[in-house]
C-alpha cells in the first residue's frame, strides 16, 4: 500500500509540475551537486554494492557482466 502511494505520488509530482525553466533560471539546477547521477569517485562504491548485494540497476551502474559477481 505504502509502495503504491509513493509511486503514484512521484508520478503525480513529475507530470503535474512540468515547469519550463529558461537557461538563465537554471543556475541552481546546474550546481554540480544537483546532478542526477553519482559522482565519479563513488563508482567503486557502487561496484562494491554490485558484488555484495543481489540488487543491481536503476542507478547508472553496471547491471551484469565484466566480473564474476551478479
Amino acid at each position: 500500500m505504502i509502495k503504491k502511494v509513493l509511486i503514484y505520488t512521484m508520478i503525480a509530482v513529475f507530470f503535474s509540475s512540468c515547469t519550463v525553466l529558461k537557461e538563465y533560471d537554471k543556475v541552481n539546477i546546474n550546481d554540480p551537486d544537483m546532478t542526477l547521477q553519482d559522482k565519479k569517485c563513488d563508482r567503486n562504491v557502487i561496484t562494491m554494492h554490485s558484488y555484495r548485494e543481489a540488487a543491481v540497476g536503476a542507478n547508472g551502474g553496471k547491471t551484469g557482466g565484466g566480473c564474476g559477481c551478479n
Binding site: 513529475f14 519550463v20 546532478t35 567503486n44 562504491v45 555484495r52 543491481v56 540497476g57 536503476a58
Partner: protein, 441 residues
C-alpha cells in the same frame, strides 16, 4: 608487472589520442558551443576491506576477509564540437582469505575455513578497458552514444558492447533516454581442490591428492560432482530513463532496468554442505559435498528514482530510492540520502546514509541446511536475507581556475570519501575512495 604494462600502454595511447584531438580543435571552423571544452582526465583510486564469518567458498562458514586496491584513469577527449571519445582503463588487485580456501591444503598450516591459505587463489588482478563515444546534435537535444569494453581476471573474461539514445524536450527541462548493453562473458572454471579427483573418469579417493592426507569423520568420502559443461555467461540489459526539472531548485529522475542473464550463473568454487550427507574432514576443513548449483537463467527488474533539492547556497539534499526483484525470489529496497554542505567556494563536505535490505533467494541454504535431493542450492550469503546500513563522509576541493598544474593538466577538483557498511550479520566492510580531476590547458 603485466598490470603496470597495461596501464603504461593505455596512458601512452590516451596521450596520443589527446594530441590528435587538440590538433583537430585548432582547425575547427565551427562556432557552436562545444559539448566538452577541453580534454578532461580523472584519476580514481580506492582501498576496500571486508570481514565476516559466512564465506561462500567454504559453504557459508569461514573467513570472508578480503582487501582490494583499485586504480582507474578516465580520459574524455572532445574530437570536435559535437563528439566526445572517452577511454576508461582500470586495474583492481585483491587478496582474499575466502578464495584462498579454494585450496586450503597448501601445507603451510593446518587447513581451516577461518584461516587464509597461501595458494594461487588467494589473490587476483582484474583489468578493464572501456571505450565510449557520444555524438550530440546541433541543437543539443539528441545524444547518441556507443561503447565497447573488455575485462579480464584469472578465471573470467568479459566482452561488452552497448548504446544509448537521449532526447531532450521543453527547452531541456525534460529528458528521456533508452540504453541497451550486452556482455558476453566466459568462465575458466576452478573447482574446490578436494573435488577435482571426482571429475568424471578420475580415480576418486585413489587419487594422489588423498595419498598423504587423513580423512576423518565419514572416511568413505564420495561427493556429488561434475564439471560444468557450459562456461559462458551472457547478460542483456535494457534501460529506460526519464528526468524532469520541477522548479528552480528541484529536479528528479526515474529509471527502469531489465536484465536477462543466461549461462553459468553459479560460481564454480563455492562449496555446499548437505544436511543429509555425513561429514568428512581433512585437518579442520570440512570436505565439500558439492558445489553450488543455480539456474542457468535469471531475469532482474530494477526501478529507481532520484530527487535532488537545492535547499540553499549552503545545502543540497540528494535522495535515491530503488525497488528490485528477480525470478530467483529476491526482492529488495535501497534508499539513500546525501547532504552536500558547501563550507566555502572551494570546500564541500558530503555526509550520507544508505539503507539496503533484501529477501533470500529461493535456492539459498545456510551451512549444512541444503538437502542433496534439491536441484538448486547455494550457501552464498550475498543471496541470503539481510539488511545493511552504510554511513559515509566525504570532502571535495574545487578550483575552477585550475591554478595547480602537473604538466599541461590543471587540477580542477579532488574528492575524498569514506564509507562504513554493516550488515545485520557478521559481515562489515569499509572503503576509502579518492578522485582527482584535471583539465588540459
Amino acid at each position: 608487472m603485466n598490470s603496470f604494462k597495461f596501464l603504461v600502454y593505455c596512458t601512452a595511447f590516451l596521450v596520443y589520442v589527446t594530441g590528435y584531438a587538440q590538433q583537430n580543435q585548432d582547425t575547427s571552423k565551427s562556432y557552436k558551443k562545444r559539448i566538452l571544452e577541453t580534454t578532461e582526465v580523472d584519476f580514481l583510486t580506492s582501498y576496500y576491506s571486508q570481514e565476516g564469518d559466512n564465506a561462500a567458498v567454504s559453504g557459508g562458514l569461514g573467513s570472508e576477509e578480503l582487501t582490494d586496491f583499485t586504480g582507474t584513469i578516465i580520459v574524455s577527449v572532445p574530437l570536435n564540437d559535437d563528439d566526445v571519445l572517452t577511454i576508461d582503463a582500470g586495474v583492481s588487485a585483491y587478496t582474499s582469505a575466502s578464495s584462498s580456501n579454494v585450496d586450503p591444503f597448501d601445507g603451510g598450516q593446518s587447513a581451516d575455513p577461518f584461516v587464509a591459505s597461501s595458494g594461487a587463489s588467494s589473490s587476483d588482478v582484474w583489468t578493464n578497458l572501456t571505450g565510449s563515444y557520444s555524438h550530440s546534435s546541433d541543437d543539443r537535444n539528441t545524444i547518441v552514444s556507443g561503447k565497447l569494453s573488455i575485462s579480464s581476471e584469472y578465471d573470467y573474461f568479459s566482452f561488452g558492447f552497448g548504446g544509448g539514445l537521449s532526447k531532450l524536450f521543453n527547452e531541456k527541462n525534460t529528458e528521456v533516454s533508452i540504453n541497451a548493453n550486452v556482455y558476453l562473458d566466459t568462465w575458466t572454471s576452478i573447482y574446490p581442490t578436494e573435488l577435482r579427483p571426482f571429475t568424471s573418469g578420475a580415480n576418486g579417493l585413489e587419487n594422489g591428492f588423498f595419498s598423504n592426507k587423513t580423512i576423518t569423520g565419514n572416511t568413505n568420502y564420495n561427493p556429488s560432482f561434475e564439471n560444468f559443461e557450459d562456461e559462458t555467461r551472457n547478460s542483456y540489459s535494457l534501460g529506460f530513463g526519464f528526468s524532469q526539472i520541477l522548479s528552480k531548485n528541484l529536479q528528479g529522475s526515474l529509471a527502469l532496468d531489465f536484465v536477462q542473464q543466461e549461462g553459468l550463473l553459479s560460481t564454480p568454487f563455492q562449496r555446499v554442505y548437505f544436511a543429509d550427507v555425513a561429514d568428512s574432514f581433512i585437518e579442520n576443513f570440512q570436505l565439500a559435498d558439492a558445489i553450488e548449483h543455480l539456474p542457468d537463467t535469471r531475469f532482474k527488474v530494477a526501478a529507481g528514482g532520484r530527487l535532488n533539492w537545492y535547499v540553499s547556497e549552503t545545502f543540497v539534499l540528494r535522495t535515491y530510492y530503488r525497488y528490485y526483484f528477480d525470478d530467483w525470489g529476491i526482492n529488495s529496497h535501497t534508499a539513500s540520502v546525501e547532504l552536500p554542505i558547501k563550507l566555502s567556494d572551494k570546500f564541500t563536505v558530503y555526509p550520507s546514509y544508505r539503507y539496503y535490505q533484501q529477501s533470500k533467494a529461493d535456492y539459498f541454504y545456510k551451512f549444512e541446511e541444503a538437502l542433496s535431493t534439491e536441484t538448486y542450492y547455494t550457501s552464498d550469503y550475498d543471496l541470503s536475507k539481510y539488511s545493511a546500513n552504510q554511513f559515509g563522509m566525504g570532502v571535495s576541493y574545487t578550483d575552477i581556475f585550475t591554478k595547480m598544474h602537473i604538466w599541461k593538466l590543471g587540477l580542477k577538483s579532488i574528492d575524498l570519501k569514506f564509507y562504513q557498511y554493516d550488515r545485520d550479520t557478521t559481515f562489515s566492510s569499509r572503503i576509502i575512495t579518492a578522485g582527482f580531476k584535471f583539465v588540459m590547458d
